[in-house]
Amino acid sequence: METSGYNLTLNGLVSDQKPLGCWSVKHGQIITCPVVCNFETHEYIAVHDNKVLRIWKDKDVNLDKVFKATLSAEVYRVHSLPHAEPLVLFRGGGVRTLDVLLEAPQQEIEDVISDEVIKWSEAFLEGQQPVLIFVTEKDGDFFVYVQKLKMRSLHKYKLEQQELSNPLCFTAYIKKQIITLLCLYSSDSIYKVLIPLQQNSEEEEQTLSKSLLLNLSISGSVLKGTSFVVLDKDHVAVLGSLAASDEESKECLTIWNTKFQTLQASKELPLGTSGQLWCYGEKFFFTHGKVLTVVIYKCETSSLAAAVGKLKDSQTSDLCSFLNWNTLQDEELLVSCQSQQSAALKSESTMTLRSKKSTVENIQPGASTIGQLLLSIKDASTAAVEDELRQLLSKVQRPDFQAAIGSVISALINRCKTDPAFYPRNFLIQMIQKRELSYSLCPDLMAVALEKKDVHLLQICLQRFPDIPEEITYACLKVFLSISDEYLERTDVDLESVISYIDIEPNNKEVKTEVVENGFSTELEEDGCDVTGMKEIHMMDSVEFCPVGPQKAALLNAVLHSAYSETFLLPHLKGLPAQQAVLFLRYLHYLYVKCSERINTTLPGVLSPTVSQIMDWMCLLLDAHFTVMVMLPEAKRLLSSMHKFVRAQVRFYSELNKIEGSLQELQRIKCQTDTQAYSIEVLELI
């Protein structure tokens, strides 16, 4: 990207926000036309002192030592065209391609215009043919010249006059052999002039009629345009000052819809601009104060809905990045300042400029959108980010908030990954609890939480997310089982799911521990085989005590609660260390016994696991660790106790089965009585 001053050129990549190169002419020399780049050869072309042509490349440092050609006539402008030789327009209206010119720099340049002054020029390629258009002025009359270089044809048109106003600025584009010239008049209107390119007859100068395209007025106030560009067939951007009747004028960048004559977007520029606006590849470039501001824009197909602001995600002009001139050497900056048109800021120091910049940001809090937030998440301090997040949460919910939240969380997670100190836990928990999030919306969240061993977050995720992959579920399980109860006691875990069946009071627990110790008496273990079911249930005293702490139990309940597919979970589950598997099984067994204590086989409380979830996990765990369980001495007792309990249950249910059979038979007998061959019944018809 390239921009030009009077005696300074600088060249930088927008995405890097860093100048790539900087060249200056000798003191006393003035660059008289914008420096262009020849895209074919990657050479820069500058003209200083009207007649001296300079051509150099990136690697050249000193402008004085580069190629120099002194021309015979004054150059108005050099136009660079893609895939074509640059065109040099002389003040007299003569045009040469650069290569022709360089063959004989001192060649005679004809004078096409006598005493008109060129106001504006532009070059196009129309079907590999360079076309140059320039506008001249003489005594208030404006003329348009269209020159086709290959054809060696030059057409001159007279622009239709306008009462009391003059064209200030021009822009043009070419489409289907027709040049559309747009003129910004001092009467705050943009006019459109169509110039046909195919003009065979060598007539006398024609007068071009113009038509009103756009009136730059916004509800009473008028935009005094200074510069404008065409964005697409329906949109123009105008840089100018908005003069309301009672207030002082503010400079602003505006995007207008010409189809519906509406202002589409506007951006205030309180620091003032140079009045110039460039536009390359969907980015605006303009100076804002001492800063070159780049604004990305996007024009969507214009529709009435968009024009009246009813369309979602209509074009947004986000302040994207700044090319900060403050990064230049102070000396150079001062030089540039001197040369700038906006002299008011000239004397201000760099410090004040910085503060100015920050005020710019503060002035526009409304524009601090998700996009900006995403940016700030990338590098801002933890406190700042959290502050912004809080603001975000307090804001009114927007329709696309869900998606935005997803991207915010992803950004946060990315930051977490790169910056280990950064972890906005409260915000994340708040987000998951408040919003309908899912695993797929923020896939890395749980991975990060696992890494940080943030069990509370994991618990909430397991409870809320409908689509957790089995791998992650397993990882959670493993983490939960491996963390010690002592550690968990200090952490904040949601105990809602266990509170109604596990006593949390520590002293109670101790009492129970005693009972358990007694309950594991060997004689009960041994003679329990053939006793009746009721007796065996008594024996279940041994599992009355919960093998894990309430925090861990709550976490495990969250795992039980999450959805899974057996096929995908089983291979992971095989990797569970044997001790942890036994512990988990013990807990499941405990839950199962607890369930069976109640007639409806459900555990009390919210989010507590159902009996089928418990059974499924039990089966799954036994499937995964069958051989290990069989071999492990400490599992032996547990397994035998479980077996006895299950056997007692099976017996109990088989008894129920018998009762059910008898009752069914009764039902059948009752039905049969219903179908006797003859009866007298009472029927009431109303």
């Binding site: 179908t675 006797q676 061959a677 003859y678 009866s679 007298i680 019944e681 009472v682 029927l683 009431e684 018809l685 109303i686």
Partner: protein, 683 residues
């Protein structure tokens, strides 16, 4: 409205005969159906599947095949060896022609309906020409050993496919030679070779022969090469019946396990040229053998030995999705088989070859809605009257006083005098019954039991005076003024004895010697004359119109009837699929009319407003929960009770007493022979 004492009768042991064969007439939308007892029925699909005609069976005349030929002529052939043409106007076999080939197993008419081919026990295939007024033997085709169980004409009429045991033959009609002989179980190993019966066959215009056999296979053969193209095993038991759609892109197969399958000719790839027969839809509507299937353009029809006729519309072919797409099952006949002596509280049940007279029980208790009352007297089977000879009973009737019983077979009319002496009962045949033109299609006794009306053919009604203590006299014969060829199948007499309404087969409801009710292009399913107002109440099989009330004295429809036609009946009422088979009146309340079909019983109160489509039609249970004033707002004319199903008969004995005769499907099934043994898991 009040409480009724309902005599709920379930001891009518009717077992409808199984369906043996069917024939569909595309032009008239009529289905002819023959039952295993030799009865032939004609259903009119255009008139809401109403059983339009019924020809009672005959002990010796089994029907193995039915054909529509030469327009609307119906032919049957059976194991007695005869081809029989049915007179659908007079509702009896018109004549029979001996096929001289032993029992006839199969019969098929060619596409034009000009020729009939029969397959005989002796292995011969014979051609008969259909001529006006009869059939004429044309020629014998090549004879081979083995009974010909099924026949199918090639649509061009040049060839005939004949299925026998173990082989299929293709016969050239012109030369009479066997053009091809296909062994159907050629590839079965010799050790396992059993007899393979080709039960059904179809010859497509493409030259493909489709056969279904006792191995449960449906096979597709190329007749010219005699090769097997495709074979599908649909059942472990036999595939008994087969029918092809007119477009020849779909077939339906019935099996002895009670299942039916649809096969469709579908492209192998979408848009591709190559097509294959694919088994697409299985249906299990029957419990027993599906002996007959028919493929109409819009529906699959199957008839089984469980006596059910099932019409399964093809969803993709039905235009209106709601009402036409409903599966229909018909088990019970659309005819009245029960007559009731209201005063004597007797019920007369008509079986195919005997009658049963029952006395209803009684109670001396009352109760609330839904209660079963204790019986003070049990119902009593008074007598069983066996009809002599092989002919089945056409119609029967008991007089309101219960002292006269009349019935008619195809050739004889019987009148009995029943003497009740306390608990004893004696029966005496009335001698000197006048020689009338038989058969009688409907019998109706006048309400004073003094006269008997006998519906006869050509629209005539004979009037016979019943004389005490046991005689009768033919008074006169009523004939319609315009004259008709069709027999009278419904009668209704007025209480005062002045009026008699009769309906003949061309749907004309006539009042003898008075006038004709405007003809409506739909069959009359029931009619009755109101005892007090002498209004004739008519219900039509077409549910769209349904009910009419015709004032006899004024010779026009009553205002109520007009208002019904103007406002239209409730949508759900119109969507019922079984016809109203009986109409009775409340003797004490002139505005109340009892109607019933198989699935509901309805007391129509003309004094109440008609329900509109938004109202709940069957609202009795709702009403019972409402308070008195709220009830009042919800009342409408149709008081429907669906408690008694399936309902053969319902009548009002007096203003507070109803009798319903039900025949639960489970009871019918219990009396059917066990179906093909199917191994069920765990048994």
């Amino acid at each position: 409205m009040g409480e009724f004492e309902v005599h709920r009768v379930r001891f009518f042991g009717l077992v409808p005969a199984g369906v043996r064969c069917m024939a569909y007439q595309h032009r008239g939308c009529r289905l002819a159906l023959a039952r295993t007892d030799g009865a032939v029925e004609v259903y009119n699909f255009a008139a809401n599947y109403f059983m339009e005609k019924a020809i009672p069976g005959h002990q010796t005349r089994s029907v193995e095949a039915l054909c529509w030929a030469a327009g609307e002529r119906l032919f049957g052939a059976g194991l007695c060896g005869d081809i029989t043409e049915y007179d659908l106007e007079r509702l009896h076999p018109a004549y029979a022609v001996d096929g001289f080939g032993g029992p006839i197993w199969s019969m098929a008419a060619n596409n034009d309906g000009t020729q009939l081919a029969i397959g005989c026990e002796d292995g011969s295939v014979k051609l008969f020409q259909v001529v006006p007024g009869g059939v004429q033997f044309e020629k014998n085709l090549d004879r081979q050993k083995g009974r010909v169980l099924c026949l199918s004409w090639h649509p061009s009429g040049t060839h005939l496919a004949a299925g026998s045991i173990n082989f299929i033959r293709v016969l050239d009609v012109r030369s009479g030679r066997t053009a091809q002989r296909i062994m159907v179980n050629y590839h079965v190993p010799k050790s396992k070779k059993r007899e393979c019966v080709v039960w059904s066959i179809a010859f497509l215009s493409s030259g493909t022969i489709i056969s279904s056999d006792s191995f449960g296979r449906v096979q597709f053969w190329d007749w010219e090469r005699g090769t097997l193209q495709d074979s599908h095993t649909v059942s472990t038991s036999a595939a008994l019946s087969l029918a092809v759609s007119e477009e020849e892109d779909s077939i339906v197969v019935g099996t002895s396990a009670g299942a039916t399958y649809q096969f469709q000719l579908l492209p192998v790839k979408t848009g591709g040229q190559e097509k294959r027969w694919v088994k697409t839809k299985p249906f299990q509507h029957h419990t027993h053998d599906v002996r007959a299937v028919v493929h109409t353009p819009t529906a699959l029809i199957s008839g089984g030995l469980d006596a059910q006729l099932v019409i399964r519309p093809l969803m993709e072919k039905v235009q209106k999705k709601s009402y036409d797409a409903v599966l229909r099952k018909f088990t019970l006949p659309h005819r009245r088989l029960v007559s009731c002596a209201r005063k004597a509280r007797l019920l007369l049940f008509q079986f195919s070859q005997h009658l049963e007279l029952w006395r209803l029980g009684s109670t001396n208790k009352t109760g609330k809605d839904g209660e079963v009352l204790p019986l003070s007297r049990m119902p009593e089977h008074l007598l069983q009257l066996k009809s002599k000879g092989p002919e089945h009973i056409y119609c029967s009737c008991v007089s309101p006083c219960g002292s006269w019983i009349a019935y008619s077979t195809a050739s004889r009319f019987h009148l009995y005098r029943v003497q009740h002496e306390g608990d004893n009962i004696s029966i005496k045949k009335v001698p000197g019954v006048p020689k009338l033109l038989l058969p009688a299609y409907q019998l109706q006794c006048a309400s004073d039991s003094g006269r008997l009306f006998i519906a006869s053919d050509r629209g005539s009604v004979h009037v016979v005076q019943l004389l005490e203590p046991g005689g009768c006299k033919h008074l006169h014969t009523l004939r319609p003024p315009a004259g008709t060829r069709e027999a009278v199948y419904l009668l209704a007499s007025s209480a005062d004895g002045n009026w008699l309404a009769a309906v003949s087969g061309d749907w004309e409801a006539g009042l003898c010697h008075h006038c004709t009710v405007p003809t409506y292009s739909c069959a009359v399913t029931a009619l009755a004359i109101h005892p007090a107002t002498n209004n004739l109440f008519i219900s039509y099989s077409d549910q769209q119109v349904g009910l009419f009330e015709f004032s006899i004295p004024e010779k026009q429809y009553t205002a109520w009837s007009r208002s019904v036609q103007n406002s239209g009946l409730h949508r759900l009422w119109l969507e019922r699929d079984s016809p109203i088979t009986h109409i009775a009146f409340n003797p004490k309340n002139t505005s109340q009319i009892l109607l019933h079909d198989v699935y509901m019983l309805c007391v129509l109160d003309k004094s109440l407003p008609l329900p509109d489509n938004n109202a709940l039609l069957v609202n009795q249970s709702t009403l019972k929960q409402l308070s008195e004033p709220a009830r009042h707002r919800q009342l409408h004319a149709f008081k429907i009770c669906k408690k008694f199903q399936p309902l053969l008969f319902a009548d009002l004995l007096d203003e507070r007493c109803l009798v319903t005769v039900e025949r639960p499907a489970a009871d019918i099934n219990a009396e059917l022979p066990p179906p093909v043994q199917q191994k069920k898991f765990g048994t």
